[in-house]
C-alpha cells in the first residue's frame, strides 16, 4: 500500500483522518501545495491524481493509495527547468503573494488535458461537439475552482492562453 508522489513511493499514514494535503505538507515536507480553506472552497490545495486535478484537502490520504500524485514540486524538470506554464506565469505576472499559485498551476496543467480531450464546460455552446477553440470565457469558467485574492486573474488567464497557444502542456 503506497502513494506515488512525483514518482516516489510513500507509505500510507497511520492516521486515516489525515488528508492528502496534510500528508504532503506536514508529514512529507512537501509544502508547495497550500492550505487555503481546508473545505474545498478555494482550490489552493489542487494537485493532480492519475492525471485529474483534485482537491487534496478533501481527499483522505488513504484514498490515494496506489495512485500517482503530481504536486507543484514535480512540475519543473529534473534539471530544474521550469514547466512552460511556470515560465508564462512569471512572464505574465499571474501571481502576487504566490499562495494560490501552486494550485493555479496544477489546476491549469490538468485543465489543458481536459480541454484537449474535448470535454465541455458549462459555457460550451455546442455541448455535443465540445469547446470551439480556446476562449477567455472557457478558461475563466474552467479555472473558476481556483480563487485568487490578490487579483492576478488577468495574468493567470494570459499565462494559460500563452501555454495553450504554444501547444505545450
Amino acid at each position: 500500500m503506497a502513494i506515488v508522489i512525483n514518482g516516489i513511493e510513500y507509505p500510507l499514514p497511520d492516521d486515516v483522518r489525515i488528508s492528502l494535503l496534510d500528508l504532503l505538507r506536514e508529514r512529507l515536507g512537501l509544502t508547495g501545495t497550500k492550505l487555503g480553506c481546508n473545505q474545498g472552497g478555494c482550490g489552493a490545495c489542487t494537485v493532480i491524481v492519475d492525471g485529474a486535478r483534485v482537491l487534496s484537502c478533501l481527499t483522505l490520504a488513504v484514498q490515494a493509495d496506489g495512485r500517482e500524485v503530481q504536486t507543484i514540486e514535480g512540475m519543473a524538470a529534473q534539471d530544474g527547468q521550469l514547466h512552460p506554464l511556470q515560465e508564462s506565469f512569471i512572464e505574465h505576472e499571474g501571481l502576487q503573494c504566490g499562495y494560490c499559485t501552486p494550485g493555479q498551476i496544477c489546476s491549469a496543467i490538468a485543465m489543458v488535458a481536459e480541454f484537449r480531450r474535448g470535454d465541455p464546460s458549462y459555457v460550451t455552446a455546442d455541448l455535443a461537439r465540445g469547446p470551439n477553440g480556446v476562449t477567455r470565457q472557457e478558461i475563466r469558467e474552467r479555472m473558476s475552482g481556483n480563487l485568487c485574492r490578490c487579483g492576478a486573474h488577468n495574468g493567470i488567464v494570459e499565462a494559460i492562453e500563452e501555454m495553450l497557444a504554444g501547444g505545450v502542456a
Binding site: S19, Q39, G43, V54, L58, T59, L60, S121, A128, E141
Partner: protein, 328 residues
Amino acid sequence: MRPFDYRRAADQTEALSIAGAGPARYLGGGTNLVDLMRQNIEAPAALVDVSRLPGTIADTPNGGLMIGAAVRNNVVAAHPAVRTRYPMLSRAILAGASAQIRNMATVGGNILQRTRCAYFYDAAGSCCNKREPGAGCDAIDGFNRYHAIFGASEHCIATHPSDMCVALAALGATVHLAGAAGERSVPLLDFHRLPGDHPEIETVLRPGELITAIELASSPAAANSRYRKVRDRSSYAFALVSVAAGVEVAAGKIADVRIALGGVAPKPWRATTAEGVLRGQAPTKARFLAAADAELAAAKSFEGNAFKIELAKRTIVAVLGELTGADA
C-alpha cells in the same frame, strides 16, 4: 474529526458485507462527507470506500442509459451518450461545484450530498433540527437567502444543493439500490424526503443500503433539454434558482415537457403543475408564463428569499423559450 475505521471495497458484495457487519457510512469522492466530518457534523465510526467499485455508463435494452453510482461526475458530463441524449444532465453536472470537485465526486455521493445551510453547518453555535431534532431552526428568522420556497416545514427550510439531481428529477430517473434484503429500485423523485416533522431523515435509504446505479429512459424531451443555473456569481456557487427542462414539440403542440427546479426546495422540485398547463398546448411565451405562474402559486417565501418566486418564473420562461424557439 473523530477517529474512524477505514476499509476500501473492491466490489459490491464486499461493500455490503463490510457495511452489514457494523454501522458504517459509504464514502464516494468525499467532497461532501469528508467536509462534514471535518466540521463535526457527521462522525461515522467507520467508512467503507466504494469509490473504486466498477462504474460504467452503458445503454439499456430499451434505449435508455445505466450509469454506475461510482462513476465520477466529470465522466458522466463528458460522456457522448449523455451529451447527445440527455444534454440537461451534462449541463447540470457542469454547472455544479468546480472542475476539481467534479473530478472527485461520484454519482452516488452527489445524490446523497447534504444541504449547505449555514445553520446546519454551524454545529457550535446554531440551532438546527436536522442536526439535533427538537433544537429549533435558526434559518427561519435568520439569513435565508439560499433557502426553500417549496416543501419546507416549520422545522426546516433548507434546500438540496445538487444540480445533477434536478436534471435526474426532470428525466424521471430511477435509483437502483442493493442491501442486505436484496435489490430494489426507487424513482429519484421519491428518493429524497421532505423535512415534515423529521428533517433529520433525508432519504428512503435503509441502513447499509448502497446506491448502485442510476437508470435513465430515453425520450425526445430528454434529447431536447437544457439546464439553467442562476446564482450570485457566474461560476462555482450554489443555485439561487435553477431550471432543468426538456420539451418535445409535435405538430405544433407540446407533446412532452419536463421541468424541475433547483435551489427552491429540500429535494429537486418537479414542476408537475407547470407541465400540466403546457402539455398539448402550442408553445408560446404567454403559455410559458401561465405555466410558471401556476407552479409558483403554491410557493411560500421567507424574508431573505422572496425574490426567488419571480426569479423562478422568469428562468422557467427563458429556458422554455430557448428550447422551443418561441419568443412571443
